[in-house]
């Protein structure tokens, strides 16, 4: 048989029908649903008198809109309430499991999927959310869809899909202390651009990737969409299996070894060919900071804000000028001279336990700079409880951080957590678009350690030079 890539294997396993010249009919193993992109899909079902084909393969949560503070009090934003109520009603009517606001398992959809063991190697996973790519860290084929497709999956448990192309992103070598998975993916995007992987599914390979924990792998796959990719994948291995074993929705122990035997086949065969390939060396990667309004507009913390005239084409110069104008930055300014007003540690990119541990280590026994307002928003209520068990919340609270309940929060600022006009934020989220964190707000994407260090110093710092010395625990 022709050697195949990981993506091709998972794809082939799910094609139900493939007529010449038409998209494939692809079976979907897991459909995740949240409050913002689903109401119109359920309305569509009702309009046509259709039902949900596999409520048992569908799981819902509330995350985008939810308050992260004062949960016991009534929510004042009536339109948000209407959206959450609609989800409750839809899940009841169609028999879908919902982790609502009061559930101990509530959290950001891409954090709870893996945490519950719903995300498994070799599954096809979709959600009306572009960061569904996160789940690819387990060797699943996971991608975001629009609301019409949400309706399609609800009704049929299938999708009509054109087969994407493949791209290998190989990260060789080893990361230096203080450099994280977030810096890898930001460096990849800065290199290939925000449309660099359009139409492809990325597979991340190489020694540096194999050494990453599951949570770090999720950070990388999460931002595949920021490189334009449909999905990102990492072949499952022992790290994957031991993460999943015993999770509530993972296969029971009797099935688990059988499943592992199958999942071990989900690797790219020797001699399989990717349509495109990018290679980076982890040891060349430094902590990254974005300076612009697109995730590809980033650089190393040791660099300066770029000069528009150094870009080759007129249209690039124009976008850089526009971005710098919006961000209120002067070309040539050292990145470490940029002062921040706000710090946000959260989002489906960097809100898991290891992220909070890394940030806490930087913060420990220090104080947030007096002119900075900083907050930590755990990715799920489970992450929150686990962090509290380790006492991480004491570290953050003592330093002057706010410690919130879980949700998307200031990643997209649909709830009350948002930046004011011209407020500048060091954020561990994934998008620095104009107005993403609030109208006029200025977002710099960084790793949790870099965000924590910026909170303490009030400006960006190279976290590799953080005291106490690296040997005492960073990295």
């Amino acid at each position: 048989m022709k050697p195949r890539t990981l993506f091709e294997k998972v794809w082939d396993r799910h094609v139900i029908e493939q007529e010449e010249g038409k998209p494939a009919t692809l079976y979907i193993d897991l459909h995740l649903v949240h409050e913002v992109t689903s109401p119109q899909a359920f309305a569509g079902l009702r309009l046509h008198g259709r039902s949900v084909r596999r409520p048992d393969l569908t799981t819902a949560t509330m995350d985008h809109n939810v308050p992260t503070i004062h949960r016991s009090q009534p929510i004042t934003d009536r339109t948000s309430v209407a959206q959450m109520d609609a989800l409750v009603k839809n899940c009841q009517e169609f028999g879908i499991q919902l982790y609502d606001l009061d559930s101990p398992e509530q959290g950001i959809v891409h954090v709870i999927g893996p945490e519950l063991g719903l995300t498994l190697p070799g599954k096809t996973i979709v959600c009306g959310d572009s960061h569904t790519s996160t789940h690819g860290a387990f060797g699943a084929l996971a991608f975001g869809i629009g609301t019409s497709e949400v309706e399609h999956v609800l009704a049929t448990q299938c999708l009509q899909q054109q087969k994407p192309k493949t791209m290998e992103v190989r990260i060789e070598g080893m990361l230096s202390p203080g450099v994280t998975a977030k810096d890898i993916i930001l460096a990849v995007i800065a290199k290939i651009g925000t449309a660099g992987a359009t139409g492809t599914v990325i597979e991340y390979t190489g020694k540096a990737i194999r050494q990453l924990s599951m949570e770090e792998r999720m950070t990388i796959c999460n931002m595949s969409i920021e490189a334009g990719a449909r999905a990102g994948m990492i072949a499952p291995d022992e790290t994957t299996f031991s993460y999943l074993r015993g999770r509530p929705k993972a296969p029971s122990e009797e099935l688990f070894s059988e499943a592992i035997a199958d999942w071990k086949q989900l690797v790219t065969d020797d001699g399989a060919i990717y349509d495109q390939q990018v290679i980076l060396n982890a040891s060349d990667i430094a902590p990254q900071v974005t300076w612009g309004t697109s995730p590809g507009m980033g650089t190393e913390v040791t660099n300066q804000v770029p000069f528009p005239e150094h870009y080759p084409t007129e249209s690039e110069q124009k976008s850089v000028r526009r971005a710098l104008d919006y961000m209120g930055l002067t070309p040539g300014t050292p990145i470490t001279d940029i002062q921040v007003d706000r710090v946000f540690i959260g989002s489906c990119t960097n809100s898991r336990l290891e992220d909070l541990r890394a940030a806490a280590q930087v913060v420990k026994n220090r104080q947030v700079s007096p002119h900075v307002k900083a907050m930590v928003v755990p990715g799920s209520q489970q992450v929150k409880r686990a962090a509290e068990k380790e006492g991480l919340h004491h570290i953050f609270l003592a330093a002057g951080f706010e410690w919130r309940d879980s949700g998307c929060s200031m990643c997209l600022a649909m709830n009350d957590d948002s930046l004011g006009d011209k407020e500048r934020c060091a954020s561990t989220s994934n998008r620095n678009f104009e107005g993403r964190q609030g109208r006029g707000g200025r977002t710099h994407l960084v790793s949790p350690m870099m965000a924590a260090a910026a909170a303490i110093k009030g400006h960006f710092v190279d976290v590799r030079q953080w005291e106490p010395t690296i040997e005492e625990g960073l990295g």
Partner: protein, 203 residues
């Protein structure tokens, strides 16, 4: 979904790269639970200043674009969030055709689901269109999806390609859920053979 075959309309130019769906429809307007009524919020943060007044410096606020139904824009249009509210807002504001050098995948796909025709042209032709619109050489365009042609009244002519199946669906305004539902037998057969470990335990 309404079929689209030929379309003639006023064309507007938004010459920016990487226009993301957060700009097309900012998140504060995603809380509606209907599919309609999003047009008034299209490009909201660019169209209006903080006080809700139209910003005269924003390209699409030109009075001559009032009735525009074709949008010519830059590369990687529609990147970012998967929100289908973006094509809903464009359609609701009267845009039926978009012309750009490239699109983000999810947005591109969402257009077809809503009867919007996203045409891909080489950057050089798109740049030419931008300057023709700018100098008022091109005010309207005629789009023929069946022939794959794009023309104006003053000698501009280009051809474009749409992948045949997508084209077929747009031309006929097809409901693809109905098409998949017809495959029920194959779906059932597939479901009977799925590995047991992909059933989700009820605990």
């Amino acid at each position: 979904m309404k079929p689209i075959r030929q379309h003639q309309g006023i064309v507007a130019s938004l010459d920016r790269a990487n226009v993301d769906t957060d700009q097309i429809i900012p998140k504060q307007f995603l809380k509606r639970i209907e599919r309609t009524g999003f047009g008034q919020f299209l490009f909201y943060n660019w169209r209006f200043d903080e006080n809700g007044k139209p910003d005269p410096t924003f390209e699409l606020n030109k009075p001559s674009y009032d009735k525009a139904s074709i949008l010519v824009t830059g590369p990687n249009f529609g990147c970012g969030s998967s929100r289908e509210h973006a094509p809903w807002a464009l359609l609701d504001a009267g845009f039926h055709v978009i012309i750009a050098p490239s699109y983000a995948d999810i947005f591109y796909n969402n257009c077809f689901k809503n009867g919007i025709l996203p045409i891909t042209l080489p950057q050089s032709l798109v740049s030419q269109l931008h300057s023709r619109i700018e100098s008022a050489h091109t005010a309207t365009l005629m789009v023929d999806l069946e022939k794959g042609t794009l023309t104006d009244h003053h000698g501009f002519a280009a051809s474009f390609e749409i992948e045949p199946y997508r084209r077929h669906c747009l031309l006929n305004g097809m409901d693809d859920i109905a098409i998949t539902l017809q495959k029920d037998e194959s779906i059932q057969h597939y479901e009977q053979n799925r590995p047991l470990w992909y059933s989700i335990p009820n605990k």
